[in-house]
Amino acid sequence: MPSDHNQPQESLPTSKVARAARFAKTGLKVGANYVQHYAKRAVGADSAMADLHQANAEELYGTLSEMKGSVLKVAQMLAMEKNLLPPAYAEQFRQAQYQTPPLSGPLVVKAFRDAFGRSPQEVFDEFDMSARQAASIGQVHAARKLGKALAVKVQYPGVGASIRSDIAMVKPVALRIMGLKEETLRPYLAEVEARLLEETDYKLELSRAQAIAAKCGHLPHLQFPSYYPALSAARILTMDWLPGQHLQEFQATSPSQQVRNQLGQALWDFYMYQLRELRQLHADPHPGNFLFSDTEGGTVGVLDFGCVKDVPALEQQQFLALLAPDTLGDPARLEALLTEAHVLRPTDPPALRAMYLRTLRQSLELVGRPFRQATFDFGDPAYLKSLYALGDDLMQDEQLKQQREPRGSAHFVYLNRTYVGLFSLLTELGAVVQTGA
């Protein structure tokens, strides 16, 4: 089924029972993969464990992508925490783009009637019934009112109601297939569920978007849409239609290095400002949430404030301290910081502790590299390659493989996800960014 991944979904299993049935089917197939694996080994054929993970991951992914988004999203987020998942799973989920089937015209009309008592054509001067693009849990329509071009996000009905049951369903499967313990996964799933539920609340998104836009308005080369509360509701969000293209299309126009640098800088400054000053992160740096244009030498439009992470002061301090340039050269300080962040535990045997320290030092050396230099070239293929290589090395590490439990605060799920996303945006842009404080 892997070849179907990019196809729009044509059918969704409807009821909880039907969805549960899909899961049961996956369980069976995964079971079959194991049987094949052991059968092959019994007859002496070489069936690597990696092959098995690969087969299982594809099976699981095929199932998840048929289900409504939240399950897939949970899986994707877990995949961000790389040490939770064998590499094959992580690889499969990373490819995943969040998809929901398009809403039918009548359902869009109904959403408007529910919210405003009028049809979209009456609310706006013009309203295009065919969606322009999929949003995280709905779709975006183009509209026009009083001469203004608007983007109208309409949410799929019942998303909020099904998130809880979806997570409850994904949990046992995740536990079984990934071989994790229930109590290990619980805080992470709770964190993910909280964010997902927030994401269904467009009223909240509107107020956050306005707040963040107001606070970041002074940063150069960023553009935030205006939001229109009178034209928005719990499931409808109306904002300006921003000019610009998505990253891939924009890259296809081969923008100059200068433009790309300015865009990268704008993104970098935006995230640093959020982390350092606001302690609030636009925690979904998915390429679909940004629009790029070469206006004024490069302008980034920021969309979608559905996933905003408030970072507690303590976690912010820990995170910044870990990335600080001098931490790496001071093993005692690093160890103290990691203990404080509950990544290292006092109960860990010395060998395990040493292993964690070694691997974390390694990752920090790489991930923190941009923070230790005045300017950093994200376009440098060597850097990207060593990032990937590091991931692979960590996955190959026999000792580490046995330690598949997640460590550290659940808040780090979103911090990590944010920085992984930001770095991959910057590397794709190939931007040279002034990163030093």
Partner: protein, 211 residues
């Protein structure tokens, strides 16, 4: 007294009391009319119930077709629009709908209440019209013999949706909306040209080869 006023008074009574009036006499008397005047409009409360449901269906179709987007809709979207409008109307009359559908559900869960019979007749005509239109737009495949059963398929769908609505406990009945969306998509996937037709075609080809 007008038949429509009688209907409204009856609906009001059932919603307030949670049951039909005990006798036609008592009801007619409360409306200030004679019992025989009631019978001139309706033979029984049952007939009145059927008329009320037929009204829901008619209103839904009228309202849905007044929607600006209606003209641009294909058969699938017209059916969706009909269902959504119907559900809006039923939401305003949910207490009555629960009584009318729930009552018979308790005794014969698999059997669809008789109160729907008139509504269903009109719904079948609407669906027949949609299917004809669907032939034109290619949304509905031509399948001699099999085709005659489509009406019943959509009738089942209507019943499924009504019962889903009756049992739905999600806020603003959003789960019913999702159910409608999926049920209609499925039904049009079934009546549209699909694997079945290709398989049938292939089978026929193989048979012909041996003649």
């Amino acid at each position: 007294m007008e038949a429509s006023a009688l209907k409204a008074a009856y609906l009001d009574y059932v919603r307030r009391h949670g049951h039909a009036p005990k006798t036609v006499f008592a009801f007619a008397d409360a409306q200030g009319i004679s019992e025989s005047e009631f019978y001139r409009a309706y033979a029984s409360f049952g007939a009145l119930d059927r008329e009320l449901w037929a009204d829901f269906g008619r209103d839904a179709l009228t309202q849905a077709s007044q929607e600006p987007a209606w003209q641009g809709y294909g058969a699938r979207e017209k059916l969706l629009a009909f269902y959504y409008t119907l559900l809006e109307i039923l939401k305003n009359n949910r207490s009555y709908a629960l009584l009318a559908l729930g009552r018979s559900q308790r005794f014969r869960p698999a059997v669809i209440p008789r109160v729907l019979s008139k509504f269903e007749d009109e719904f079948k005509r609407f669906v027949a019209e949609l299917l004809r239109e669907g032939h034109g737009t290619g949304e509905v495949a031509r399948r001699p013999m099999l085709e005659d059963n489509y009406g019943r398929l959509f009738l089942r769908q209507l019943q499924f949706i009504l019962l889903f609505f009756v049992r739905d406990e999600s806020a603003n009945f959003e789960r019913t909306d999702a159910a409608v969306e999926k049920a209609v998509t499925l039904s049009f996937d079934l009546v549209g040209r699909n694997t079945l037709d290709s398989a049938f075609d292939f089978g026929r080809f193989l048979l012909h080869k041996h003649e």
